[in-house]
Amino acid sequence: MEVGYIELAIGSILISNFILAKFLGFCPFFGVTRKMSDSIGMGLAVIFVMALASAVTAALYRHVLLPSSPEHANVLALAGIPLPPEGLVLVLKTISYILVIAGLVQFVEMVLKKSVPALYRALGIYLPLITTNCAVFGVALLNTEAWRDPNGLPIHKATFNGFCGGVGFLLAMVLMSSIRERLAESRIPKALRGLPIAFLCAGLMALAFMGFTKLFGIAV
């Protein structure tokens, strides 16, 4: 089944929002949402890394991990290296994706440090933490799941899906930070102050996002 762009966008931003429906990437969701400006910076960085990681991992999946097919050629098979009939998917998927994401984040970090030092300082520890952010890894894995497309999403759609996943991440971050900025000024029972009330809010937001299930008849 071919997946359209609109379905991908609505699917990753609303229906299966990475934070509020898939419960991935909670570390920055609670760590960087104390201030609106920081959460926007983090969201933008995640959009960038997710889109880039999706593009690279989709290419890797199609041309290195999957066995050759009429639509796309396997680089290793072209070089005459023996491959198992199902390709290297099971053996190398996880480890090669992690390698790619780690490398990309390192690269982004260097670029930011040089060109946008203010954003680099604002993101602080959370930029290197994107390396081990399960949302980024999750989008790479989900893009290349067989149920979406037997060969994984094509590179341009994977990139778009990664971008939309990042937008959904940004949306959740902005919603959460605006709630927490209000919470900071409210009278809250002592036992719930700080993180506990944030977790309660996150639970209610996730509940609300469940209302998007099967939105416009899109099943994701």
Binding site: L76, I81, P84, L88, G103, M110, K113, S115
Partner: protein, 290 residues
């Protein structure tokens, strides 16, 4: 070794893929490191280390890191850090190879004595327990429109825990031993009651009310009524205390902290911090020894 026989022939491919990925990213990152490397003056880290890291912004820069950068680039003087005071200025100066002239330590002074006993409220305020919100409601609930609202906004804002709320008076108090004069409290106070003043000046007018004497008398027992008595007793030539706009103000440049005006003031709105600070100075070495 059935497993080995199954995967053995394909290991070459797996090794190659991971090896190639490692090499590609290794090369890309190495090249990026050359192109995007940022050379940082090693003194910047040292200067940052010497600063108090309160990130209060009293120096005029966005946090200690930004100030350290400005110092190293020669854009800022090294004595702008108020929390660090003279000690930090000298240490930073040493790193930068500069000689630093002495700095007078400063301290926050709360210029209102409108305690529960001395003044009253015009109405009952039930909104947000924050002075800035209260000040936006009919200038605040206190009878004196210039007075402290007492919702602890300054106490919460203090990054050093140098302020406490006195439950008896309903006024904040500055713990001068902890106060670094960063000015955060003065900035958040909607009534501009808190001032950062030199620590070696002991006499301050603890009132902000600029109304005429009669109006002040009606709202507060210890408000400045602009009677000019302090002006008359001041021994300094030309006077170190002047009444402007119905409010006495001590001139920090000329005041000799003799305390005569504080004794003479009929409403006791001039405070003398001499004994308080002398006691603190005596206790400080004892505390260090312990």
């Amino acid at each position: 070794m059935a497993v080995w026989e199954q995967i053995g022939p394909y290991l070459t491919g797996a090794w190659l893929v991971l090896g190639a990925l490692a090499v590609v990213f290794g090369v890309v990152l190495a090249v990026a490191n050359r192109f995007f490397s940022v050379t940082v003056d090693p003194r910047q880290a040292e200067v940052e280390e010497a600063l108090p890291k309160a990130n209060c912004g009293a120096c005029g820069y966005g946090g200690c890191a930004a100030y350290a950068e400005a110092i190293v680039l020669g854009k800022a003087d090294c004595n702008l850090c108020l929390p660090g005071g003279a000690e930090t200025a000298v240490r930073v100066g040493k790193i930068m190879g500069l000689v630093v002239a002495g700095l007078t330590p400063k301290v926050a002074v709360i210029k209102c004595q409108g305690s529960y006993a001395n003044t009253s409220d015009r109405f009952r305020y039930v909104g947000e327990r924050d002075c800035r919100a209260a000040a936006a409601t009919q200038y605040g609930q206190t009878a004196c429109p210039y007075g402290c609202l007492g919702f602890s906004t300054c106490v919460r804002a203090c990054p050093f825990g140098a302020m406490v709320m006195d439950a008896e008076t309903g006024l904040p108090r500055v713990l001068e031993a902890k106060c670094t004069a960063c000015g955060t409290c003065a900035e958040v106070c909607p009534k501009n009651i808190i001032e950062i003043l030199p620590k070696d000046r002991y006499v301050h007018v603890l009132c902000r009310n600029r109304d005429a004497g009669k109006a002040v008398r009606q709202v507060c027992k210890v408000g400045c009524i602009a009677c000019h008595k302090c002006e008359k007793v001041c021994p300094v030539e030309g006077g170190a205390v002047h009444v402007n706009d119905n409010l006495a103000v001590v001139d920090m440049q000329t005041c000799i902290s003799c305390g005569k005006c504080a004794q003479e003031c009929p409403v006791a709105c001039i405070g003398n911090f001499r004994s308080l600070r002398r006691k603190a100075r005596k206790q400080a070495p004892a505390a260090d020894a312990a």
